[in-house]
Symmetry: C2
Subunit: 339 residues, 2 copies
C-alpha cells in the first residue's frame, strides 16, 4: 500500500542537521580519518546504521580526485571473445575490486581500435587499468604510459618497467613438452595463434627450451604460427597426417577443438594414431573423449592477484615488476601410449 516511495536521496547534510553536528564531523565518523570523540563517532555511526545511509561515492571521489573505478580492457574481436579466459579473469578482478570498494569498468578494444579505452581515460573515469592481453607492440600500454595512468598487464610484456602478472607459460610449456619428449616422441608438431601476442611467443620458447634440454631440436617445418581459423587448421592437420606426425600440440583449446574435429572427420584415432595435447585448457575441452592432456592455470586467482597489485600500485606502494604464477600439467588419455 503506502510504499515509502520517497526516493529523495539523503546526504551528509541531512545527517548533520538531524544529529546537530557539522558535516565535517559526520564525514570524519564515516571515514575514520581525523580526530573525533568516540561518543560522537558512535552516535553518528549508529544513526547511519539505522537509517542505512550510504555516502555518494561519486561525490566522495570528486572531492578526493579519485573515481574508485578501475578499467578492465578486454578484446572486442570475436575469435578471442569466445575464450572463457577473460570472463574468468574478470570474476577474480571484480571480487577483489569490490571488496576494496572499487568498481570495474569495461573497455573493449581490438588490435587497431582502442578508442573505448581512450574515452574512458580522457573522461577521467578510472584511477587505474588492467590490460588482459599483451601484444608485442602494445598500443594500449603505450597510450596509458603516455597518460601517466597506473596499469598492470595480465600477460608478460617485453617492456621491463611495466607491472605485469602472468602464468609462467614458458616453464609450463617446457615441462609439458619435456615430458612428451622423454616418452620418446620426436615427431612433434606445434600449432599456435597470433604471433603478435606475447603469450604465443612464450609458449613457443618453452616448446623450444624443452628440445634444447634434451639436446635435440624441433623440426621447424612442423611449427605453425599465426593460425587463426579452422580452414587453416584443417589444411595443417591434413599435412600432419600425411607426414605421419606422432603428436600435435595446440597452443590453446580453441585450436585444439578444431584439430580434434578434423581428426575425427578423417577417422584418425586419438591417441592410437596420433597424440594430442594443449598448452592451454579451459572448460571447453574438459569433457572431451578422449580426455586431453593439457596445462591448467588458475585464471580467477590470477585476476585476483592482478587486481590487488593494481590497487597497491595506485596506492603508491612499490610492487613487483613481474609476478609469475604457477601451473599444473595434467596428463590425460590423449597422449597415452597404446601398447
Amino acid at each position: 500500500m503506502d510504499e515509502m516511495m520517497d526516493k529523495k536521496k539523503v546526504t551528509i547534510d541531512d545527517i548533520a542537521r538531524e544529529l546537530q553536528v557539522s558535516k565535517t564531523t559526520v564525514s570524519r565518523a564515516i571515514s575514520g580519518k581525523g580526530r573525533i570523540g568516540s561518543a560522537t563517532r558512535e552516535k553518528v555511526l549508529k544513526y547511519i546504521q539505522e537509517t542505512n545511509y550510504k555516502p555518494n561515492a561519486v561525490a566522495k571521489g570528486l572531492a578526493q580526485s579519485k573515481t574508485y573505478n578501475i578499467g578492465f580492457v578486454m578484446p572486442g574481436d570475436y575469435s578471442l571473445v569466445d575464450l572463457p579466459f577473460f570472463q574468468e579473469c574478470l570474476v577474480g578482478v571484480s571480487e577483489i575490486a569490490s571488496s576494496y570498494d572499487y568498481d570495474v569498468l569495461i573497455s573493449m578494444v581490438s588490435e587497431r581500435d582502442i578508442h573505448q579505452l581512450e574515452r574512458v581515460i580522457d573522461n577521467h573515469k578510472v584511477d587505474g587499468v588492467i590490460l588482459t592481453r599483451t601484444l608485442v607492440k602494445d598500443k594500449p600500454a603505450e597510450f596509458l604510459k603516455s597518460k601517466g595512468i597506473p596499469f598492470v598487464t595480465i600477460g608478460t610484456t617485453l617492456n621491463k618497467d611495466v607491472i605485469q602478472v602472468d602464468n609462467d607459460h614458458r616453464s609450463a610449456c617446457r615441462e609439458l613438452t619435456g615430458i612428451l619428449l622423454m616418452r620418446g616422441i620426436r615427431k612433434m608438431a606445434l600449432i599456435g595463434g597470433n604471433k603478435s601476442h606475447v603469450v604465443t611467443q612464450k609458449r613457443l620458447q618453452g616448446f623450444k627450451d624443452a628440445f634444447l634440454e634434451q639436446s635435440c631440436s624441433p623440426d621447424n617445418s612442423l611449427i605453425y604460427m599465426d593460425v587463426e581459423n579452422s580452414v587453416m587448421i584443417e589444411k595443417i592437420v591434413e599435412e600432419l597426417i600425411d607426414r605421419q606426425v606422432e603428436c600435435v600440440i595446440c597452443m590453446d583449446d580453441s585450436i585444439c577443438t578444431h584439430v580434434l574435429n578434423k581428426l575425427r572427420k578423417e577417422k584418425i584415432r586419438v591417441p592410437a594414431d596420433i597424440k594430442v595435447a594443449s598448452f592451454y585448457n579451459s572448460s571447453l575441452l574438459e569433457s572431451n573423449v578422449p580426455s586431453i592432456t593439457s596445462l591448467n592455470f588458475d585464471v580467477k586467482e590470477m585476476g585476483m592477484i592482478t587486481c590487488k597489485t593494481l590497487l597497491d600500485c595506485m596506492d603508491g606502494k612499490t610492487v613487483h615488476g613481474r609476478t609469475l604464477l604457477g601451473y599444473e600439467v595434467s596428463l590425460k588419455e590423449s597422449t597415452q601410449n597404446i601398447l
Copy 2:
C-alpha cells in the same frame, strides 16, 4: 627527451581564464545548451580542439546528478561464466554505451548473493542497470525495483511491468521441434538446465507447443529438467540409448557437448543411430563433426538493442515493455535422415 610530463589536469577554469570568458560560456559552448554567440562558441571550440581538452565526466555527472555509468550484471558462478553468451552480449552493450558517452560497470552476482549489485546501487555509481539472466524469482529485479533504479532485462520475465528484451525462444523452439516432428520423428527427448531460469521455461513451452500443433503430445518421461552436470547427463544418455530414443534435443550447447561426448564414448553414431539438436548454439559447437542442428541468435545485436532501450528508458522516453528478437533455425547433419 623533454617529455612534456606536466600532468596537471586542465579544467574549465583554465580555459575560461585563457580565453577571457566565463566558465559558464565555456560550459555552454561544449554542451551546446543555452544561448551563446556563434563567434564565441567557435572560439572556445577551436581552443578546445587544439588543446585537446576533455571535460571531467565525473564532475559533470555530479553537477547533473548522473553518473554516466550503466551496470551490467552477469553471473559469477562458474558453469554459466563459461558461456560466450554474456561476453558477446557485453560487446554489443559496450559499443552502444560508449557511443552515447556512457560506461559499463560490471557486477557479478549469483542466485543467492547479489551484494556486488547492492554495493554499486547503494554507492550511487550507476544510472541504470542491465540484467543478463532472468529468474523465475528474481532477486536482482526486485531489488532494483525497490530502489527505483531503471533497468531492463535480457531475457523474458513474467513480471509485465519490467522492460525486457529477448530472443523469441518459445517460437524458435516450437519451430525447430515442429520441423523434426514433421519429418516423422516421434520419440524425442529434451534435456534442459536450471528450471528457475525463465529461458528454460520458455524453451520447454516451445517444445510442447510444437507437439500441440501437430495434435500429439510429448512423452513426459523423456523430458529432463534441472540437469546441471555431466554426471547427470551421462546417466540420462544411457537411459535414452536403452529406450531407443530417435532424437535428443539439448537446451543449450553446453549440455549438447556433454551429450555428444557421451554418445561418442558409447560408440553411438550421430545421426545414424540417434539425432541430436540444440536449442541454443554458440561457437562451442560451431565446428563439431557432425555439424549440429540448432537455433541461432544474434547476441551482440541483442546487447546493442538492450543498451539503447535502457538509455531511452533513463531518458524518460516510453519504451516497449517487451521486445522480442528473431532467430534462425539452422538445419545440419546431426538431424539428417540416413537413407
